[in-house]
Amino acid sequence: MAVGFLSGLIVILKYFAQEGIISRIGTDLIAWRVTVAAFALGLGAANLIQVHARAIIRREKNADSSFLLLATMAVFTVLGVVSGPNSAAYKWFWDNVYQPIYGGIASLLAFMIVSASYRAFKVRNWQSAVLMISALIVILGQVGLVSRVFAGLPSLSQWVMSVPNTAGMRGITIGGALGAIALSLRVILGFERSYMGGGQQ
């Protein structure tokens, strides 16, 4: 599709051109994408309404929570659009409803990392042995108490983080860059269009 090809090409040229007309158009395109994406939010909202309204109409098992979702969404959309996201009422709900749930969900990670380390670091072969040992070095290296006993641990942990870790991540990053470029190129040239109805060529 010509639109994808042109917009991709201009954005690439913009990066190297720095100034001039191409650069201006490229900057515009990048800004426009944000606007178009905002329109896509409407589609997402329509999807949520469709899924949950149907649950309510059909009186499915969790229709009560679907109702709660749609009601919350309606109330805060109206409040946010009419009075603005910086209004006192909106901020109050943001601070006392949204933020604690958001923070709570994020902090579930602390529990997940405990059960994951307990489960994942079993030494089954040489690879998992390497995995476990380097994890232990770094976990313990961050505890001030342990480093009073094993004086070399913090610097060993620092070394593992800054040398072999950097090497591994760098290898993945360089390879990933090549992959990302190749795939993006296929998108710009129109070889990847399963989303466009091309399916498998």
Binding site: T27, I30, A31, R33, V34, K91, W94, Y98, Q99, P100, Y102, G103, I105, A106, S107, A110, F111, I113, V114, S115, S117, Y118, R119, F121, K122, V123, M132, A135, L136, I139, L140, Q142, V143, G144, L145, V146, S147, R148, P154, Q158, M161, S162, N165, T166, M169, R170, T173
Partner: protein, 279 residues
Amino acid sequence: MRRSWATAVQSIDRRVLYALTFVIVLLPLVRPLGFPLNITPNTRRAFEIIDALPEGSLVFHSVGFDPSGDAEVWPQMQALSRHFMSKGLRIVYFPTNVGGDMYAEAIRAQLAPKFGYEYGRDFAILPFKAGGAPAIAAMADFYSLYTVDRDGTPLSELPIFDGFRGMQDVSLITTSSTGDDALFLAVYLEPKFHIPIVVGGAATIMPVLGPYLASGQIKGIISGLAGAAEYEVLSEMPGQAIGAMDAQSAGHLFIACLVILGNVGFFAQSRAVRRKEGV
């Protein structure tokens, strides 16, 4: 007998693990243990770079986090801001996360008055710009991206922007971010303007930044809550981070014990199985 012990260690119910985690992290918060604290070279370097800036230098500070990640980054942002303000640096906060401006506002309301910082003259808050990498790339042409501050006041009316031409006039960029702000800054702004970048962020993204630190695209890193605690120690202005470090250490020891326990059980079990099979 031995096998049943090994099997039991192998299969502790996850709910038990969760309950233990809860208790072990909570106890040191109630009764601090006073574990010692290490100062890492990365934090020290970050501190020294900022400490060496002359009074009145202009610092841009990204606010790229929201409630989900504020546990690590918000203490850093406070520690950094306290240091900036005690040194008389001028600060421009630019939110890169939808929720970020709330924290910049908290600095304006709580911290700034303590240091006699006046909004518009000594510091300013820019509006949030969506888009991640492209938005940061667009900062290269500053006034095309920002024309007003967060309150909608034109930048030309703020004394801090008097004579400000663009990113070339910035002495330092710092971040408080759980996202890739630092990466985007290093990729899109550093090559053009050669502004030193000091990164504050979640400990998670730090390993990713290692390569950029090694290559000099980033000058210093303050990592996670521990980084914040170290910074509080270095700048001699204690805050909430130091108090949390005991709970951190307890949690680390707990996880290390679990990893070892899990492996001991695993070995005992596989040996018992092997013996039974007569291998």
